[in-house]
Symmetry: C2
Subunit: 207 residues, 2 copies
Amino acid sequence: MARAPLTRDEVLATAADLVKQHGPEALTMRKLAAELGTAVTSIYWHVGNRESLLDALVERTVADLGAIRARGAGPAERIVSVARALRRQLRAHPHLVAMVHERGLTERMFLPAQRALVHEVHAAGLRGARAAEAVRAVQFQVVGFVLIERNRERAPVQRPGEEELWDAATAEDDAALARALAGPVDPDRLFTLSVRALVKSLLEPGT
Amino acid sequence: MARAPLTRDEVLATAADLVKQHGPEALTMRKLAAELGTAVTSIYWHVGNRESLLDALVERTVADLGAIRARGAGPAERIVSVARALRRQLRAHPHLVAMVHERGLTERMFLPAQRALVHEVHAAGLRGARAAEAVRAVQFQVVGFVLIERNRERAPVQRPGEEELWDAATAEDDAALARALAGPVDPDRLFTLSVRALVKSLLEPGT
DNA sequence: GGCGTCGGTGTAACTGTGTTACAGGCGCCT
DNA sequence: AGGCGCCTGTAACACAGTTACACCGACGCC
């Protein structure tokens, strides 16, 4: 049973597999060792720690995210397209979001897109501090949205729940509003709507 | 050493203390038992589980959050004030945010404020589905922002880091922008700016 | 050839976690 | 007194991350 000697990349690859399939909490050192057909200590030799392993995993996956290109006509639409592209990328790696969040590297997720955003904000005529604020506002909105979204998917049923909380009475006699708030959220729609609204204001000249 | 019999409330209270002081991961059943001067099984008897314990803790703390009142003149400013009040409340209980997030109850954090928001959106003239969308857009923005913010505070130094990433060259010769993006974020300012921008667009008549 | 060093692996243990089976104790009601 | 329900404690189980230590094999050096 001579195995080819274990490499750090091999460890990272099967660790990534485990995480992709069953989530980060399913990645235990022993399971990983079993999967690799080796002993726990070998893993500790190659990657020092569970922490370091997850760090390396995050680094790896973030690096794998492709570059983001803006599409569309006006500056506003192009910025929105960047936001949507980022969201799509993050949603393609659901566990990544959790891991990045747990490690306190949330901003890190956005760095690949920041450059594209700066370009578009410039094209829209914003400069200096105002441009930076616009970029960061969009950045925070997108990443925050993705965090919440991932969260919602994990918690299918809320306990008091919006459903029974919003009847016509509590909604100040606006039955349509009550119905809308009691119903499920349409994340795609809400995301586009929010980003578009935010960007519209940010690009307006004025305050 | 006759102790007064343990009560569920007592357990929850000292559990809340532990979490407040050292974060949720420091709350182990044995530490809690030691703190209470009792045995682990007693805790299990009163609150069934660690899960249930944390659930109860979240419930308790969320219930303790005061009601949110809108302030200010125009509808837009009043909505912004609700958002800021919610953010302030959540930031006053830093660990709560983490716990709520981990338990997938992120929306739950917003329920107390939702009612206030509905009122203000109504006052601004929005009805039905449009009103609901506005409420939810603000809701997602605020909660998302708080999540990111808490995250930033936990991770003082990012590894590639925005600092060395943004020099004048990469910022398309906008030195002021490079400086702004390389510098630290001012969360208060960014938050108010973002919410104000979002709300402004949401309240505009039209699409 | 013998020997030591270094890279890499394996066995078996340590500590600490959540959780539970089980044996009671204490007080109240009948 | 007896019984029962609330409550507590002892001791264990399974599983987690981590590590001390022995070992193996190749390589270089004397």
